[in-house]
């Protein structure tokens, strides 16, 4: 695929993404967001996808699917620094059930990649479900035109752009600068370069990246959430058991709903306001249909 085709597809895709969900909602009564609570991370993930109309709605037969968890830190699952491995495993399974040809799980980690992949439990879990779990490959890092409001271009791992479907699976955590890190902040793991310089305008950067990557689906892991000392934590006392999955196409809405777990108001997260203003999603929950269930 050359650059021109890619940009065309991107434009087309964004138009489709913008209108498809609302059309579907009208047709089938599918909610904008699913918020499922329960004891089993696997089960609530499955239920959330079922509530959104099933993985078939997002993944077509023969698709190459890229799943982007947060594997940023050398921390085990109970410390809630990385996405829950069972959630990832379930999503990989659902993708294959929907006919995906290949599922890849990848993240540009902060601590040593080998340690993060192994100790987060994500590599083993995703591999067990049949996914490929490669390390980010510096040779596939390309400077790309992001056409963001702040970020005009940046180094991106091309696999995230070339995949047919992109599923963003962040974990909800405290963060000192952006207040929280959820779906939009998670895109910092899909890029390379001097990521630490993005902090100078982090909220704008997050929104620019989210607008660029345009995930097919966002699944927010709030099974365990990190309420302080984010984004790494380190003690189980930093972790709150929320036992919830929030899933939806509108990542701004997903993040808005996630804000509530931390007792914050959506207005307190600058990135949500910026994203809504740019028409990337809805942060007014009253305008959305949400299916809330406990299983």
């Amino acid at each position: 695929m050359n650059r021109r085709d890619f940009l065309k597809d991107l434009a087309l895709g964004s138009v489709l993404l913008r209108f498809t969900p609302s059309l579907l909602t009208q047709a089938k009564n599918i909610p904008d967001l699913a918020m499922i609570q329960g004891d089993s991370p696997a089960l609530i993930t499955k239920e959330a996808l079922a509530a959104l109309g099933g993985m078939n709605r997002f993944v077509a037969k023969g698709d190459n699917v890229m799943i982007k968890p947060n594997i940023g830190w050398d921390r085990t699952p109970e410390l809630a620094a990385c996405t829950n491995p069972e959630v990832i495993k379930t999503l990989v399974e659902l993708c294959f059930e929907a006919g995906a040809k290949e599922v890849t799980v990848m993240d540009n980690t902060t601590n040593q990649a080998q340690r993060c992949y192994a100790r987060s439990g994500i590599a083993d879990a995703a591999k067990a479900a049949g996914a490929k779990v490669p390390f980010v490959n510096p040779y596939r890092l390309k400077k790309m035109a992001l056409r963001g409001e702040w970020l005009k271009e940046w180094e991106v791992f091309t696999e995230f752009v070339e995949a047919d479907k992109l599923i963003n699976v962040p974990i909800a955590k405290h963060h000192s600068l952006s207040r929280l890190t959820m779906s939009m902040k998670n895109w910092l793991g899909a890029i390379g370069g001097a990521r630490n310089q993005l902090h100078q305008k982090l909220d704008e950067a997050m929104v620019d990246l989210a607008a660029f990557f345009k995930p097919t689906l966002t699944v927010l892991d709030a099974y365990r959430i990190l309420v302080r000392n984010g984004p790494q934590g380190g003690r189980t006392s930093d972790v709150k058991l929320q036992k919830t999955i929030v899933a939806g196409v509108d990542y701004v809405a997903v993040d808005t709903l996630g804000t509530g777990f931390f007792g914050l108001k959506p207005e307190e997260l600058p990135c949500l306001g910026i994203a809504q203003k740019r028409g990337l999603g809805q942060m007014n929950l009253e305008k959305l249909t949400i299916e809330k269930r406990t299983v």
Partner: protein, 534 residues
């Protein structure tokens, strides 16, 4: 006279080559797997070093300690007592490298063996004496000359990084040729084996290794003949062994091929002048003899025969030289005041003890997952050259990792469990407010706080008013270090966006191993290591 080469010794020669290849592969394999492989504990990948009697003797002398793990070196000594320097000829991986390149250079006609009248074989004995006398006075220089340390260090900090960089270039070529699936596979492979690619002095250390290899152009097994103190030590033990050369004078045609091609100048012919202490039992002489006159019969009664002439004058001179050298090695501020940049790996013993035990092998540098451990140049004084120094600008100490403590062959870095390791403080972080983005420029950052691995975080954020060039004031969250919580891991410095001279940096002050390098008295806790030793 019937001309016929010995089939038996040709076979033994091949067996010896296989043995050398096998032991070199084992050495290399253990080096290769010294990295994070998914498990917290790595196993005894350093075991090769424990068979080295030179390291055992010198380090025990220097550290005034008996090492249980070095019991294995007794095996080497016993073998040498009974059978001579078999270990040098059949096992030593550096010996294998030397012999391999001697062979190559001989084949390439770069090296033409000549009869050597002058004997410089004594050099290695003088080096041995120098090292051992130094050790008696706690100056541990053995790591500089020990063959295993030399080989491991050269590979870990020079040859492998060079190879890894060459592979990177190769992978880049694959991508440019649109062979991206091969490129992907190779890139994944290299990610998984995590080869550290960045070493201060990496160029110099590689150069030393190549230098030692190139010396084989001048003489076969140059290192083993003239320089190796471990070989010298084994030579001392091998004088009474039971396997002696015998030349059948009825068959001998006095062609001198055996002496000419002797790898280690052991002088097979004439029989009486054969140097038992130099022979490494490579069997080149017996295999090359055109009349099958050379053999190595086993004699039940060991007899002492010819060895290298060590002049008593020179022995006394070397001993004196070593004694005189000791104080000169210590004319350095390193012992007087702690050095800010001398950040040792977690578990490192207090500095004088550390220097007595560290054999500069580079195991820890190979194991470090972030490439943080670097060979020292001058930070620890001249005797501390090539000892490990954590350099946060290159890499940081991974919070839940204790690999370096597990692989140290001499316990210079005390073995720690993960639970013990996270309590060890190796230094303290400092904010340079003149360069820190929120303090100096009034822009948001907090990258150091985000990466701080302790919980609660050692880096706190406070509101700070920065005065901008136009006179306006901007308030930002800015980092302040809580000395009580900071463990000095250095991830803040590694990840600081002020790349050239990080605005947060770690110095050694406050390290838990030192009783002197301290800061606030109220922060002093009972030393963790002393507690664990009980």
């Amino acid at each position: 006279m019937k001309k016929e080469r010995s089939k038996k010794y040709r076979f033994l020669q091949i067996l010896r080559i296989l043995s050398q290849a096998g032991f070199f592969s084992l050495f290399f394999y253990l080096l290769f797997v010294t990295h994070f492989t998914g498990k917290d504990y790595i196993g005894r990948v350093e075991v090769f070093f424990h068979f080295d009697p030179l390291l055992a003797v010198a380090t025990s002398l220097a550290a005034r300690a008996i090492f249980a793990s070095f019991v294995l070196a007794a095996i080497t000594i016993v073998i040498t007592f009974v059978a001579g320097r078999f270990i040098c000829g059949w096992v030593c991986p550096l010996g294998a490298v030397q012999q391999f390149f001697s062979f190559i250079f001989k084949r390439a006609k770069l090296l033409k063996p000549k009869m050597d009248g002058r004997s410089r074989l004594a050099w290695k004995y003088y080096i041995l004496i120098f090292v051992l006398v130094g050790s008696i006075f706690t100056l541990d220089l053995v790591g500089i000359f020990d063959p295993l340390s030399f080989l491991y260090r050269s590979f870990a900090t020079g040859i492998i990084p060079g190879f890894a960089r060459a592979s990177s270039a190769f992978i880049a070529i694959l991508y440019s040729l649109r062979l991206s699936s091969v490129g992907d596979a190779l890139a994944q492979f290299f990610s998984a084996i995590s080869l550290n690619q960045t070493f201060r002095q990496g160029f110099l250390l590689s150069l030393l290794f190549f230098g030692v290899v190139l010396l084989n152009i001048s003489k076969e097994r140059f290192w083993c003949r003239y320089l190796c103190p471990a070989g010298a030590l084994l030579g001392l033990f091998s004088r009474w062994n039971v396997g002696k050369i015998r030349i059948d004078l009825d068959k001998c045609i006095k062609c001198n091929l055996c002496t000419l091609h002797c790898e280690t100048q052991a002088n097979p012919y004439p029989n009486e002048e054969w140097r038992s202490s130099e022979c490494v039992y490579c069997y080149t002489c017996a295999a090359i003899c055109p009349t099958n006159a050379v053999s190595f019969p086993v004699k039940a009664a060991p007899e002492k025969i010819e060895s290298v002439d060590l002049s008593r004058r020179k022995l006394i001179f070397t001993t004196l030289l070593s004694i005189i050298a000791v104080p000169f090695f210590r004319i350095t501020p390193a012992g007087k005041r702690a050095s800010a940049k001398l950040i040792r790996p977690p578990g490192a013993l207090p500095e004088p003890k550390f220097l007595q035990k560290c054999v500069k092998c580079g195991e820890c540098m190979k194991a470090c997952p972030t490439n943080a451990l670097q060979p020292a140049l001058e930070e620890a004084g001249p005797e501390g050259i090539w000892t490990p120094v954590l350099t946060p600008k290159i890499g940081y100490c991974e919070y839940y990792c204790s690999l370096c403590t597990q692989v140290c062959p001499t316990g210079a870095i005390k073995e720690l469990t993960i639970e013990e390791k996270i309590k060890v403080k190796i230094g303290t972080a400092w904010v340079n407010k003149n360069r820190c983005i929120p303090y100096a420029l009034g822009s948001p950052c907090i990258v150091c706080e985000e990466h701080c691995p302790t919980s609660p975080k050692a880096i706190k954020l406070v509101k700070n008013q920065a005065l901008l060039p136009d006179g306006t004031v901007r308030t930002q969250l800015a980092p302040v270090v809580d000395l009580d919580l900071c463990i000095g891991c250095g991830i803040c410095e590694t990840k600081c966006p002020v790349v050239d001279d990080p605005a947060i940096y770690v110095t050694s002050v406050g390290e838990s191993r030192s009783e002197k390098n301290r800061l606030l008295l109220e922060l002093i806790k009972p030393p963790v290591q002393a507690e664990e030793a009980k």
